[in-house]
C-alpha cells in the first residue's frame, strides 16, 4: 500500500487529478472504501500538510490536494456509499475577515477524510454563537487570517461561557502559527497548525479526548 500512497501523493502534489483518480480507481477492487480513505487519502493529506508545516510543500499544493481528494471521494464512491465517520456535530467558519482559503482547505480535508461538517462561511462572533446554539454544534472550527480576527475568538468563548455552552473551539490560521501560545490566550481548546492537525484533533475529540 506504501507504493499506492506514494503514487497518489505525487499525483496530488502535481495537481494531476487524472492520475490521482486512476490510482484510487485501481485500488477500489483491492481494499474496502474505508481502507482507501484511511490508508491512502487521509495519509496523503496528512503527509502533505506536515510537509507544508516543515516548508517542503506550498499552501497551494495543500489546497489543491484537498480539493482534488474531496472531488474524488464524492465521485468515485458509489452514490450514498461514501464512508462517513462517526464524529461530534461540527461546523466551520471564518471569523470576521474575508480570507476563505484556510477554511476551504480544512473543509475539503475533513470531508475527504470521511467527516461531515456544516460550513457557516464568514460570520461575526455573535452570529456564530447563535448558530452553534440553533444547530446543536459540539465542535466549532474557526479559521482566521488577520490578527484582530484571531483576538475575536475570545469574544466567542466569553459569549459561549455566558450561555453555559461546552462547545469545543478549534482555531487555525496564520496568527496562531506565528504565535504558538495565542490559541490558549484567546480561550480556544485546540490550535491546529495544518488541516491534517485538525483530523487528529477531531479523532481525539471523538475518542473522548476533551
Amino acid at each position: 500500500m506504501a507504493e499506492v500512497l506514494y503514487e497518489f501523493q505525487e499525483a496530488l502534489l502535481s495537481t494531476d487529478i487524472v492520475k490521482a483518480r486512476q490510482v484510487l480507481s485501481e485500488t477500489i477492487n483491492k481494499i474496502t472504501f474505508e481502507q482507501i480513505i484511511e490508508t491512502v487519502v487521509v495519509n496523503a493529506l496528512e503527509n502533505i500538510g506536515k510537509g507544508w508545516e516543515k516548508g517542503e510543500y506550498a499552501l497551494s499544493q495543500v489546497y489543491m490536494s484537498g480539493r482534488i481528494c474531496e472531488e474524488l471521494v464524492d465521485t468515485i464512491f458509489p452514490q450514498g456509499n461514501t464512508p462517513r465517520k462517526p464524529s461530534p456535530k461540527m461546523a466551520i467558519a471564518i471569523l470576521n475577515d474575508y480570507h476563505a482559503l484556510g477554511k476551504r482547505i480544512v473543509y475539503s480535508t475533513l470531508r475527504a477524510s470521511g467527516f461531515d461538517l456544516l460550513d457557516y462561511g464568514r460570520v461575526s462572533p455573535a452570529e456564530i454563537v447563535q448558530r452553534i446554539s440553533d444547530d446543536g454544534i459540539e465542535v466549532i472550527l474557526l479559521s482566521v487570517l488577520m490578527f484582530p480576527s484571531a483576538l475575536r475568538v475570545k469574544d466567542v468563548r466569553d459569549m459561549l461561557d455566558k450561555k453555559g455552552s461546552k462547545v469545543t473551539i478549534v482555531v487555525g490560521g496564520a496568527p496562531f502559527r506565528l504565535d504558538p501560545h495565542l490559541w490558549k490566550q484567546v480561550g480556544a481548546d485546540f490550535g491546529a497548525h495544518t488541516a491534517s492537525d485538525t483530523i487528529d484533533i477531531i479523532k481525539s475529540i471523538s475518542a473522548g479526548g476533551v
Binding site: 516548508g55 506550498a58 497551494s60 489543491m64 488577520m146 484582530p148 506565528l178 495565542l182
Partner: protein, 349 residues
Amino acid sequence: MDQKPMSSLQRVLTTLSHREADRVPFFLLLTMHGAKELGVSIREYFSNAESVAKGQISMRKKYRHDCFYNFFYAALEVEAWGGEVLYIDDGPPNAGAPIIRNHNDITRLTVPQVKDTPCLVKVLNATRIIKENAGDEVPIIGVVMSPFSLPIMQMGFPAYLDLIYEQPMLFQQLMAVNQDFCVEWANAQLEAGATAICYFDPVSSSTIIPRELYLKTGYPVAKNTLSRIKGPTATHLASGRCLPVAEDIAQTGTAVIGVSAEEDLEEVKKICRGKITVLGNLNGIEMSRWNMEQTAATVIEAIAKAGVGGGFILSDNHGEIPWQVPEDVLMTLSETVHTYGRYPILMEE
C-alpha cells in the same frame, strides 16, 4: 573616535551596497500607530493625508527609525478598483467581498487612473507632505501590492489559486491589467517623493506556491513589473517564507527581500550576502506580548545573526506592525538598535 552619525538615507544606502554603516538601519513599519499618536480613531486617521503625514513624522521623531512609510493599508488598492473597505477599531481596514465574482469580470476590468482615484491621491498627498518635511535625509518607502498578489483581495484566495492552476489565459489577462496599474501607481508615488517602492508579493512566497510555479508566474510578473518602475524596489513576502526563492527574487531586479519570522536570519543572510539586502524578521504577532527583556534579546539576536557586513535592515516580518504592539516595546526596540546595532558588531555571549 566619534564620527558624525550618518543620516538615515546614508545609512540605508550604505547597507544596500553591502557595506557596514555607522549602525544597523531599522525600519519600524508603523501604520495604524499614527492614530494612537494623534489620539484619533483608525478610520479618522486614514481619512486624510495630513493626519497620516503628521503621524509618520511624529512617530519617527519618537522612535528614531530610518524611514517614513507612506503605507495606509493593503485594502486601499482594492478600494481603487471599486472594492469595499471594512474598518475595525483595533486593526487595519480589511478588504470586503471580492470585486471579481466570475471569470467574465476579469475581461471587463479597467485600470483605475491614479489621478482620478481619491484614495490613491490621498496617499500621494501624504507622501508630498512627508517629503516637504523630511527633505533628503530620510528615505520615504512607498508601497504597491504586486500584480501577482493583488488578486487575493480582488477575487479571494481559493478562486485565485483555481485561476492560476486552471485558467492560464485569464490569469495572463488579469496580470496584464494589474501590471499596468501597479507600474502607474508605483511611479506616481516616486514622483510624489517616495525614495523607493516596497513591492508586496506574498503569493510568490514558498509558503504559498512551490518554486516551480513561482518561476512560471510570480517571477516573470515581478521581473517585468519592477523593470518598469522608475526607482529602487524592495520585495516583501509579508510573513511568507523566502529561502527556496531568495536567489530567484534577487534576479528580479529588487534590492531588498523581506524575511519571515519562520526562517533563520543567519541562513537567509548566507544565501543573500552580496546579492540582496535582508529585511526582517521580528515576529509582529508575538511582539504584542513581549516584555522589555524579550524585546532587547530578540533584537540583539537578529543583529548578531544578520548585521555583520551590512546588507541588513532590521524590521518586522510582515511589513505592518500590529495595532496591539505597545509603545514601550517599540521604544525598547529602538533603544536596543541604537545601543547594540553600532558597527562593528561586537559578538558577546
